[in-house]
Assembly symmetry: C2
Homo-oligomer: 343 residues x 2
Amino acid sequence: MGEFTALLHIKHGIIQAPMAGGAVTPELIAAVSQYGGLGSLASGYVKPENMRQQIRQVKQLTSRPFQVNVFVPEPIPDVKTEDLAFWEKRLFVLPKAHMMPSEQGLWDDFEQKINILLEEEVPILSFTFACPNEQTIHCLKQKGIFLIGTATTKEEALLLEEKGMDAIVLQGSEAGGHRGTFLPSKGDALQGLISLISDVKPLCRVPLIAAGGITDQAGIKVALQLGADAVQIGTRFLASQESAAADVYKKAILQAEGSETAITRLFSGKRARGIVNQWMEEERVHEDRVLPYPVQHVWTTPMRKAAAAEGNSDQMALWAGQGIGRIHSILTVEDIMHELTQT
Amino acid sequence: MGEFTALLHIKHGIIQAPMAGGAVTPELIAAVSQYGGLGSLASGYVKPENMRQQIRQVKQLTSRPFQVNVFVPEPIPDVKTEDLAFWEKRLFVLPKAHMMPSEQGLWDDFEQKINILLEEEVPILSFTFACPNEQTIHCLKQKGIFLIGTATTKEEALLLEEKGMDAIVLQGSEAGGHRGTFLPSKGDALQGLISLISDVKPLCRVPLIAAGGITDQAGIKVALQLGADAVQIGTRFLASQESAAADVYKKAILQAEGSETAITRLFSGKRARGIVNQWMEEERVHEDRVLPYPVQHVWTTPMRKAAAAEGNSDQMALWAGQGIGRIHSILTVEDIMHELTQT
């Protein structure tokens, strides 16, 4: 763990998972970095200029290193008109008719974000949903930026290393939120963390960051023992005082058991793990009709936002990992970092 | 680990997973016990008198303790005639027309098996698919038999302890073969081993046996560190010289990567993890039409047997856990036990 923390100029090998969707505030990110971990700004679903503003806010709060995570664009498959019509009937609140992701600026702002990240001199970037193209990697590496990729299989980890990533997040099946899977897989690409680290460790030379279901020192210890150089922790930080997650979301995290999450494509079109709620249960039979990511995301956004505003967790996406059963209190980031690192 | 091994009179806290289906020979079981682990005879799909015969064969080969695993019967839901007709069209080889599980003696032989196990004085029994009823538990405990239950969630573990089980197998989502889930779950009941052990350990007083994806000393070490008292290992023993698994099955284990397994109900009607093959891929869209366990099992048996006899792995059930990517050789049980325990 020593080498990796030295490389990133952080005290503890604890990365706060970049969780897109608005819960991760500049205060949360800065506090994680301030207490010796690596805070992560999630730029997914954030407009480029808002991302710049958030970066500046974090910088005002801490001089410690933090990272920014960027979704790497994928081609969007064709959307069938009948599938759009299907969801038009089923969603409680609808987006503007036929609104497509590009109109939202959700998916076409990758280069714009990379330019801002260069301008703002963010020293560490992580990527999800794919490996950036060679030109982008080359350009970022020339500026000395530390690059972190996200893998869910050994094959993905090997590809990311080959393409020049400086470290790799290994996302176990336990992880909350979106799966980072980007290569076709013969199986379910849902390997548990013990197997995934054990498979990748002998083959990769770059530092490995274990992610998925880790909430406490015991989890950190076994991840490091298996060969990880650091850990990435999400759900535990969602249930912090600095988190802007809706109160009903935080409450759901405190109440749910570890067995009460499931993976669904219903909210966004891409597989993600969350606490099972009413909408997930009711729509489960329609998983096959789901629109491709991020179209389904755009279409369910108004419903999810309205539900959050009403304090109604039935129609929200309650992303959470399998460690959720061991989170029983809303703490400050300071207390969480203390719990995770005290000796 | 010391207490549990003393309780069972074994040297190493390593239990060979009871894998029903014919791969686990008396020689394999006896060898595991002989080299200090706990061999397990899987009585599932075995006729009661054949089980007695196998028990006697193991006893002839070793005087060390071994256990017998028994499937606990569940009520079989009604089978829809149109679903039977559906699979009649899709299966390559058919069973005798309308053959139901009871005609196979698959599911109605629980009491008969328990009586034989008492007669044969088997000192350790484990149960899968449910908790035996109170009368059975009472009767077995009066004879001093050590009882092991199987849980996939915290809720199941707590119930099994309350009902009097002396130890509990915690089956992580990584595990190959059938899921032991027996309580309804709000979520997917597919917790990874790190989360599952961490959730259960503070609440259960009985010894915990970690199962799922463990193939090597590193896996054993972290399971014990998280609070398990022993481990249960399956796939590694399938790929042994003593295993009667078909050669194509063993070959598939050696070749597959950790990401190439998935959970399916297609072969038996109950969720189980195996290496994805042609039939699983082709029929994946029909998961919803699957007949209830064990009816689907009975109906796919002729196809699976014919495929195995032909050395064709496309239509077999290639049950395997997520540790499969780290199994690269067919060893003797002696060598496997040595690899797992050498200091």
